[in-house]
Symmetry: C2
Subunit: 286 residues, 2 copies
């Protein structure tokens, strides 16, 4: 081997990205190659930018390790990391470049569960009798404003104490604050719940430690989750946010979009304390 | 809140990095801020470059999770990830910009253990009677070529089957292929071992799967590990590589440097089958 060959074969500070990328095999899947080439270029650029000491790199390895080890059936610390670094919302934005007029997406979050009960319009999904009662109403329509029949509205939220039922098994009733509603020919929906409450993300793990070191709080502004689906339309995963919440401009997961903020007003019918009205505008399936 | 305020407060595809960085608190440690700002910029640039689908991002989360969960007392899958992506060697290069003439560093690897036995010069560290015998000799000197007295040479390698003792507890003798030697006034060292053998990294985990998808093999070329330390000098962590190994130009962890390649020759004294001579040149401590 000549010295020139050696210089291009062996990794140096100068050639590091190209050396790693140069090892990728001929028959590597082209999309996987594209992703890994970009990952290697950005990872090496990051390391060259910050020039970590060996002790700092060891800390990074310890963080990466601990974040995976914190994950279990009820906890996904890497999703939390992706959320609090704004990556989940960026991936969401890239995948849901909506046409004008369609309701915007936001994060799914880790607390959705399959199999919530199907309910009649008007039913109450608050099954623990806590919190301030609220009627939620609106329409599911297409981008021309025409009602969508048979749209499924899967709703969930935390309870008045700021916890989802799956965070408190045995404490909250099963399927507390969850239900699925199906629209009729008018596209209207209506259900009872509580005015939602803000809550902190689980911050007792490595991601919580990063938030503390960054001088950031772990709170999400009060919101109700929705997955709205209908034949022929792109499924919509979104929230309604409470316009009066103090964490609206500092959501720990960057999930707030101005178009998703709604006013909770005193219920004019007196059947509940609060009322909020919000229409879901669906985009045709591609 | 005005619309202009909203546009800068809420995360969009366009402002995502700035929005996340803008949340860092005033009293965040300045070095931590620098590292996290760079991490966020490169992470978001990577996502914008490859535009992952939601399914691809979920796969990335699954990889990150599994890599942490593969780690235990005997396995550090994140170090392996850092190694095979060339990051460990890049961090090493950044932290050891040697003056001309000093022996170059390379990766520590995951198999060093503290507490290897102190041995007399000439002792045999091969404790399982396998492999092709080899005498290793050389000098520990400063950059002016003067011998260093009292330098500690901590040596370790895999055995003839390609495994380190810690990978085969109960199969290999304790401290097989390990020993610590201390130089006298002449700076000379001398010990017996075997001519080292190449071996695959543990590739039954998420990192092995990445290597397979990249069309890369998991092998390291044959080498002997050294940590050389002496008062007043920067500790040197390095390898001697066997010049005849077929994996020299494709080390799975990019650890090879041309200056660390040595010729193993028939032992002229006949006391062993092979002989290799290598001098360690130490840099003054900073």
């Amino acid at each position: 081997m000549t010295k020139a060959q050696a210089m291009s074969t062996y990794l140096t500070e100068e050639n590091s990205e190209d050396t790693v990328i140069g090892r990728i095999g001929e028959d590597c899947d082209s999309r996987f190659r594209q992703i890994m080439e970009s990952a290697v270029r950005h990872l090496h650029a990051f390391v060259k930018d910050v020039e970590p000491t060996e002790a700092e790199w060891a800390k990074a390895i310890a963080f990466l390790t601990a974040t995976g080890q914190k994950c279990d059936q009820n906890r996904q610390e890497w999703v939390l990391a992706s959320d609090v670094l704004g990556v989940s919302m960026l991936v969401d934005a890239i995948n849901h470049r909506q046409p004008t007029g369609a309701t915007e997406n936001t994060v799914l979050g880790p607390f959705h569960v399959e199999g919530a009960p199907h309910e009649e319009m008007g039913a109450n999904i608050c099954r623990d009798a806590k919190g301030e009662s609220c009627v939620v109403t609106g329409r599911v329509v297409d981008i021309d404003g025409k009602p969508i029949t048979g749209a499924k509205i899967d709703v969930w939220s935390d309870n008045a104490d700021g916890f989802y039922d799956v965070q408190q098994p045995g404490i909250q009733p099963a399927m507390n604050m969850r239900g699925i509603f199906t629209t009729g020919a008018d596209g209207l929906y209506r259900f009872r719940t509580i005015r939602p409450t803000s809550y902190p993300l689980p911050d007792d793990g490595p991601v919580g430690e990063i938030l503390r070191q960054l001088g950031r709080h772990p709170h999400r502004p009060a919101h109700i989750h929705f997955i709205v689906s209908a034949d022929g339309y792109e499924t919509l995963t979104t929230h309604i946010f409470d316009a009066e919440d103090s964490y609206l401009d500092s959501d720990a997961v960057f999930g707030v979009k101005p178009s998703l903020i709604a006013n909770f007003v005193a219920d004019p019918t007196g059947s509940a304390r609060w009322h909020v009205d919000f229409d879901f505008v669906m985009k045709p399936a591609t």
